[in-house]
Symmetry: D2
Subunit: 104 residues, 4 copies
C-alpha cells in the first residue's frame, strides 16, 4: 500500500472515531514524540551489535514493526493536516543535503 492510500486510510480511521479535533499539528507532534519514545525503549539497553539483530526474535520483530508503524502513522497524519507531501518533502531535502554534504 503506497503513502497516499495509507494517508486516506488514516484519515478515514480518524474521521470514523470523530478524533479530528484532537489532531492539531501541535498535538500530532507530541504524539510523534510519544511513539519515538516507545521505539527508543526497545533499543535503549541494547549494544550496537544487539540492536543489529533485533529482528531475529519474531515477537520483538513484531514489536519493532508496530512502533515504527506508529511513528509513521503520526508523521503521515501531521503531513495531512499541514498539507505537506512527505515524499516530495524528502526528495527535496535529499537534494539540499547533497549540496550541504558533498561526497568525495
Amino acid at each position: 500500500m503506497a503513502i497516499p492510500e495509507l494517508q486516506q486510510r488514516l484519515r478515514d480511521f480518524v474521521a470514523e472515531r470523530d478524533w479530528q479535533r484532537f489532531q492539531t499539528p501541535k498535538n500530532l507532534v507530541m504524539a510523534l514524540t510519544g511513539e519515538v519514545g516507545e521505539l527508543t525503549e526497545i533499543f535503549q539497553w541494547l549494544t550496537a551489535e544487539q540492536s543489529a539483530t533485533v529482528m531475529s526474535d519474531p515477537a520483538r520483530a513484531e514489536h519493532v514493526r508496530d512502533e515504527i508503524a506508529d511513528v509513521l502513522a503520526y508523521l503521515l497524519r501531521l503531513c495531512d493536516v499541514l498539507g505537506i507531501d512527505p515524499e516530495a518533502a524528502l526528495a527535496a531535502k535529499i537534494t539540499k543535503n547533497a549540496i550541504k554534504h558533498p561526497s568525495n
Copy 2:
C-alpha cells in the same frame, strides 16, 4: 518519488559518504529523536490555533517541510537497516488498531 526509490537514494547517499558504520539501528533511533526534537521546537510555544496556520508563512513552511523530511529520512533508514517494509508495517498496524479501537 515513492518510498522504495527514496530509500534507494538515502542508501546511496550514505554509501557515497561511507557513513554505513554509524547507521546502526540504535544510532538511527537516536537520530530520529534528534529530528523530532527539532520539529518540536517549531511548535512548542505555539497555541493550537497558531500550529494550524504554521504553513501560511513561506519560510516557516519550508522549515517544517525540512524537519518532517529529516524525521522521515531516519525512519526510512531505520527500516532499511532492519529489513522492514514501512508501508506494509503501517497497513498491518492500521488493521490491528481498527480491532483495538472499534468505531461506532
Copy 3:
C-alpha cells in the same frame, strides 16, 4: 531529600541490581527519551487549559509525578556517570541565558 542524596540512592539502586554495565551515557540519554515520551503521552491530547489542571485528578497527578520522577532519575544518573553537578550546571546556564536574552 536533596539532589546529592537522591543521586546516592539511585547509585545504590543500580549497583544492587548490577545494572551499571547498561548505564552508559549513550544508553541513559536514550532512557531519558523514553521517559519524556511517557510524560508527553499524558499531555498530548490535552488543550493548554486542560494541561494546566492536570493535577486536580489524584490518579493522574500521581501518574504525572511518577513520570517526572523517572525523567529526573535518568537525568541524575546521566550526570553521575559523566561527573556533572546538575545544580552547578544549571546555575551556570541561567547566568549565560541572562546575557543571551536580556530582560527589558
Copy 4:
C-alpha cells in the same frame, strides 16, 4: 545552588521577560522534548565507549553540561507550574521502584 533556589531564579527569569503565558504544562513538556533532542544529537553517532569519554574534551564537556542544564531547567519549570516537588517525587518513586524491582 539547591533546587528550590534554582526554581526561584528560573521563575524570576521567566517573569522578567513576561514569558509566563507561554509556559503552560503542555508547552513545557514540548520544550523538554526539544532539549532532550539536542542532548541526544551529541551522543547519537558515538559508540558506547566514546560516550563514556565525552567529557574529556573541554568544549564538548561544556556543550553536554549546557544541554543537561536546559533539560533540568524545563523539568523544574514544569514542576513549578504543576506544583510538584521534584525531589519528593523522585524519593517516592525510588521507594516504589525498589518494591517493583527487588534486588537479590
